[in-house]
C-alpha cells in the first residue's frame, strides 16, 4: 500500500526501528553484462563472501557503491530535486560569482563534504559577518541532540546524513549527530573479468619521431637548440618519447594495474615453502554479476533521539518532536527513493532497477514487516506535506542562505583558474 503522512507519523511515533528497502538491479546492458565497481588503492576491489541463508552456499560478492558514496549521491539527488523546484529545502550556498573569475562555481551545504560544518562555510561571510559568528553560524555551537531546532531550520540533511563539527570551540565534543540513513549496493555471484587498453595514433606519429625536448618554459620542442640546457646538453621532456606528450600508439594489452613505477601489480600468496609467489597479474577487468542489490535503511530510533524545543524553551513538546522527526524521516525516504532513479554509478557501471521500490517497516522482530510503496514522486509529495505540518507547529524552515566566500579564497580561486587555463598539456 502507498505510504501517507499518517502512516509515517504512526511509524515515527511508535516503536518501529527502521524503514528498509531492498531493491534488485541488473546492468543496463542486460543480464550478463560486465560492471565496474569502485577501485581502491592498489587496484583492489572490495570483494566479500556471503552465505545464502536459503541454500547455505557461499556466494562471491563485490561492493558496487559504498555507504559514503551512496550518501553523496542521495545529497546530490536532493540538490537536483531542489533545482527542479520539486522540493524546497533550507540550503547554504557559497557563490563564487565575482567579476574577475573565469568560472563561477557554487558550493552548497548538500555538496560540501562536512555539510554545514564544512571549512568552506567557516571561511565565508554571511551579510558581511564571518559565518561562525553570524546568527545562523553560531547555532552550531549550541546544537546538540536535545536541541536540534536550529539545525532543523538551516540544514535538516545534517540531521539525516550525520554531522560533526569538530573545529568549533568545543573541539571534539562539538555538535555531533549520527547518521540516520545507510545505503549500499552489492553485486552477487561476482566473477572477475578482463579488460584491455590500446590506442591507435590518428596522426601516425611513431616512436622514431622523437626525441622530444623540454623548453625553458616547460613546453616541448623537437629542436635541440630551443631546449632547456643542463651542462650544455639538451634536456629531454621526461623520457623523450612522443608518448610523454600524449602522441603515439599504445600496444594493445590487458588493462593491468600498474604501481608507481609502472610495474604490473600482482596478486600474491605464500606458498608451502614460505616464499611469496605471484599468482596472477591484477587486471582491472570489472565483474559479471547475477544481480546487484541496493539495501537502504532509514533508522527511526536514531531520529527519535532528537528533540526540538521551540523559542529557547528548556524542554520540547512531544507533538512538535513528532512533526520534526516525521519531516526528517520523509527526507530520508525521499533521498532513498530519488537515489533509486539514477543507477548510473560510474563509467561502465550503469544499473537498472528490476522492481519498484518497496519499503518495509521493521517493527517487532519475528513479525512480518508492513510493506509500503514509495517512489520518488510520492516521497517528494510526502516531504512537502511533512514540511508544511512542521512549519505549522512553529518549527523553523529557512530558504536559501547565500554566503559570500572570503576575499582571500576568491583570490586563490582566481589564481588557480588562471593556472588551469594557462597550462597546456602538462599532465602525463
Amino acid at each position: 500500500m502507498r505510504i501517507d503522512l499518517q502512516a509515517l507519523q504512526d511509524a515515527v511515533g511508535g516503536t518501529a526501528a527502521a524503514f528498509r528497502s531492498v531493491t534488485d538491479y541488473q546492468p543496463a546492458g542486460g543480464p550478463g553484462d560486465k560492471v565496474f565497481p569502485p577501485t581502491y588503492e592498489g587496484g583492489k576491489y572490495a570483494t566479500e563472501e556471503r552465505i545464502d541463508p536459503d541454500t547455505g552456499k557461499t556466494r562471491q560478492c563485490v561492493l558496487l557503491d559504498s555507504v559514503q558514496s551512496q550518501a553523496n549521491r542521495m545529497e546530490l539527488a536532493l540538490l537536483e530535486a531542489q533545482r527542479a523546484g520539486k522540493v524546497s529545502l533550507p540550503l547554504l550556498i557559497a557563490r563564487f560569482d565575482q567579476e574577475d573569475l573565469l568560472k563561477k562555481p557554487t558550493v552548497t551545504s548538500l555538496e560540501a563534504p562536512h555539510r554545514i560544518a564544512d571549512a568552506i562555510f567557516r571561511d565565508s561571510l554571511l551579510d558581511g559577518v564571518k559565518f561562525p559568528e553570524s546568527e545562523i553560524g553560531s547555532l552550531l555551537h549550541v546544537a546538540d541532540i536535545r536541541n536540534a531546532t536550529g539545525l532543523f531550520g538551516t540544514c535538516p540533511t545534517a540531521l539525516v546524513f550525520g554531522l560533526w563539527d569538530s573545529t568549533g570551540p568545543r573541539g571534539g565534543l562539538g555538535a555531533k549527530f549520527q547518521r540516520a540513513i545507510v545505503s549500499e549496493i552489492v553485486g552477487y555471484d561476482a566473477v572477475s573479468g578482463i579488460d584491455t587498453s590500446s590506442r591507435i595514433e590518428p596522426l601516425g606519429i611513431e616512436l622514431r619521431a622523437g626525441p622530444v625536448y623540454r623548453t625553458e618554459s616547460g613546453d616541448w620542442t623537437l629542436d635541440p637548440d630551443k631546449a632547456e640546457k643542463v651542462k650544455d646538453k639538451p634536456v629531454l621532456y621526461r623520457q623523450g618519447r612522443p608518448s610523454e606528450i600524449n602522441h603515439g600508439n599504445v600496444t594493445p594489452d590487458y588493462a593491468y594495474v600498474k604501481g608507481n613505477n609502472r610495474q604490473i601489480e600482482y596478486e600474491r600468496r605464500i606458498d608451502e615453502r614460505g616464499n611469496e609467489v605471484r599468482v596472477r597479474p591484477r587486471i582491472q577487468g570489472g565483474f559479471t554479476i547475477s544481480k546487484a542489490t541496493q539495501t537502504t535503511v532509514v533508522s527511526l530510533s536514531a531520529l527519535r533521539r532528537l528533540r526540538f524545543p521551540l523559542k529557547g524553551a528548556a524542554d520540547s513538546k512531544p507533538d512538535v518532536d513528532v512533526a520534526a522527526r516525521t519531516t526528517l524521516a520523509a527526507l530520508g525516504l525521499a533521498a532513498g527513493a530519488l537515489a533509486r532513479n539514477d543507477g548510473d554509478l560510474r563509467s561502465r557501471c550503469q544499473l537498472f532497477a528490476t522492481q519498484a521500490p518497496v519499503w518495509e517497516l521493521l517493527d517487532r522482530p519475528g513479525e512480518t514487516p508492513k510493506q509500503f510503496e514509495c517512489d520518488s514522486e510520492t516521497s517528494l509529495a510526502l516531504l512537502g506535506e511533512a514540511i508544511a505540518e512542521a512549519r505549522a507547529m512553529g518549527l523553523p524552515w529557512e530558504g536559501e542562505i547565500a554566503l559570500t566566500p572570503s576575499p582571500e579564497l576568491v583570490e586563490l580561486v582566481r589564481r588557480s583558474q588562471e593556472l588551469a587555463s594557462a597550462s597546456t598539456g602538462e599532465e602525463a
Binding site: 567557516r122 608451502e272 615453502r273 539495501t295 579564497l409
Partner: protein, 528 residues
Amino acid sequence: MFALGIRYLNGWAMAAADGARKERAEWPPHPDRVFMALAAAWFETGEDTDEGEALRWLETLPPPAIAASGFTTRTSVTSYVPVNDSSVKRKIPQSSDLPKLKDDGLGVLPEHRSRQARGFPVAIPHDPNVYLVWKEGEVGRHRAGLERLAAKMTHVGHSASFVQAWVTEDGDIDHTWEPTEGVAAHRMRVFSSGRLANLTQAYNRAEVVEHADLKARSDALKGPKTKRMREEKKRLDSVIVERFGTHAPVSLRPVPTRWQGYGRPAEPESPGPSGSVFDPNLIVLALGGRRVPLPSTLKLTQALRGVLMDCCPEQPPPEWFSGHKASGSPTTRPHMALLPLPFVGDRYADGRVMGLALALPRTLNPEEARRCLQTFLLSADTGLPREHRLFDGQWFECQLELESRERPPKNLDVATWTRAARVWASVTPVVLNRHFKGKDRWQQAAESVKDACGHIGLPRPREVLLHPVSMVEGVPHARDFPQMTRKSDGGRQSHSHAVLVFEEPVRGPVTVGAGRFRGFGLCRPMES
C-alpha cells in the same frame, strides 16, 4: 534466564577488532561494546532513572554467553575521507604554484580538499541476529527499563552499523560461545560493576563543555575593546582558573578494562570410547613461513618449548608444564606434550609440518592451564592471537599463531587427530625404549610398544605391526628421522613406524613411546 537480542539491519557489522588500526572486523560483538551502546542510548536520551538503574543492575551480572553465527569479512581496502581542518590564510603570498595555493587555502574547496586514509572493516555474519544470554539471571523489575533502553539502541560499532535490539525471556536460545575459565580460543572485552560510572567519568563531558564555552566567551573578547569588555574578560579568565586550574579538562576515550575467555560450549561427556591420559581438546597453533619438513620435529618442538618456557608467567614453570620436578629430575606424572601436525593422509601430501599442538593432561585444572598459557596464546591489549617467531638458527625459521579460523584445514582440525578409531598409524616414528636382541626381537619390540600404550592410559592393543614405512601417505621413511639420544648415557634410541590395532575404538590423541612428549610416536586414526 533472559537475553538481549540484536539484529543487524544492514546485514553486516562495522566494528574494528584491532582498536585504532581498523583493519580487522570484530565478530561477534563483544559484551563491553554492547554495554557501551546501551550506555550511549542512555546518555543521549535524557538519562532516565529507571533505565539507569537497569544498566547499573546489568553491570553486576557475570559475563553472558553469546549466540552468534559464523561470519565472513570484506576485503580490507583503504578509503580516503575529506578532512575538515583546511583553512584560508589571512595573507595570501604571491605564488602561482598549485600545491602552494592549496596550502594557502585553495584546499578548502571540495575538489581540492585533502583526504585522510581510513579503514572501515566489515564482518558479514551468516545470521544477522545475535543474542547475549544470561542463563542464570532474572531480569525482574528491570525488564521495562532495559527494554526501553534496548529499543533506543541505534548502532553497535560504527554509526553505519544499524541495529535493532530487544529483551526476551524465551528459554530456547542455543548459545555458541560461553565464558570459560580454561584456555580460551577467543577473548572478549566484558563489562563489570562500575563500568557506567567509569565511562561517565572518563568522558567528562560536563567539565569539558563548560570550560570550552567559558574559553570561547573569553577569546571573543580579545583585542582592543572597551573597558567593560576587558573587565568581563578578566572575570571570565579568573573563573576559568578557579574552576579548572591552568590545565584544560580532558575527555578520554573508553579503555578496555576486563577480558573474559570464551570457548565453544562443552559437548556433554559421552560415555563412549576410552581415551588416553591427554585431554582431547588440543590447542592448535598454525605455522607460517618457510616449509618445515616432518623429520625436523624434534628441533621444532624444542624451539617451541623454549618459547613456552619464556612466556610462562610462573617461573620456574609448574611440573605439568616443564616436565621437571622442582628438583630438576624428570616428573613421573603426565605433562604437556608438544605434537607436530603434518600435511599427510592425502594423495598430494608432502609431510610438511602445518602446525603444532599442545596436548594437556586430562587431570589438569583448567584455571591453572589458562593462567600459564593465556599470555603465550593471546595478546594482552587486543585479545587477538599473538604471533611468535620460532627459529633454530640453522634448520628453520617460521611464525606461530593460535589457529582461530572458523574452518581450519583438515590437518589442523582437532577431530582429525582425536576421533575414535580402532586402527592407528604413526606419522612420526615410535621410539623404542631399549634395544632388543635375538631372533624374535621384532616381536619383543612389538610387545614393548603394547606396554607403551598402557603408559598413556590406553587399553592394550590387540596387535602392533612395526615397519620402517608408515601406513599414512606422505610420511617420510623412518630412517629419514634423526634418532633420539638417551639423556643418561647419550646412546641412540632406535625407532620404527607402527600400526596399532585395538579391540575397541579409542579416542586420541595417541602418542606413544619414549619421545611422546616431544612429538615422536604421534599416531593418526585410520578408517577402519
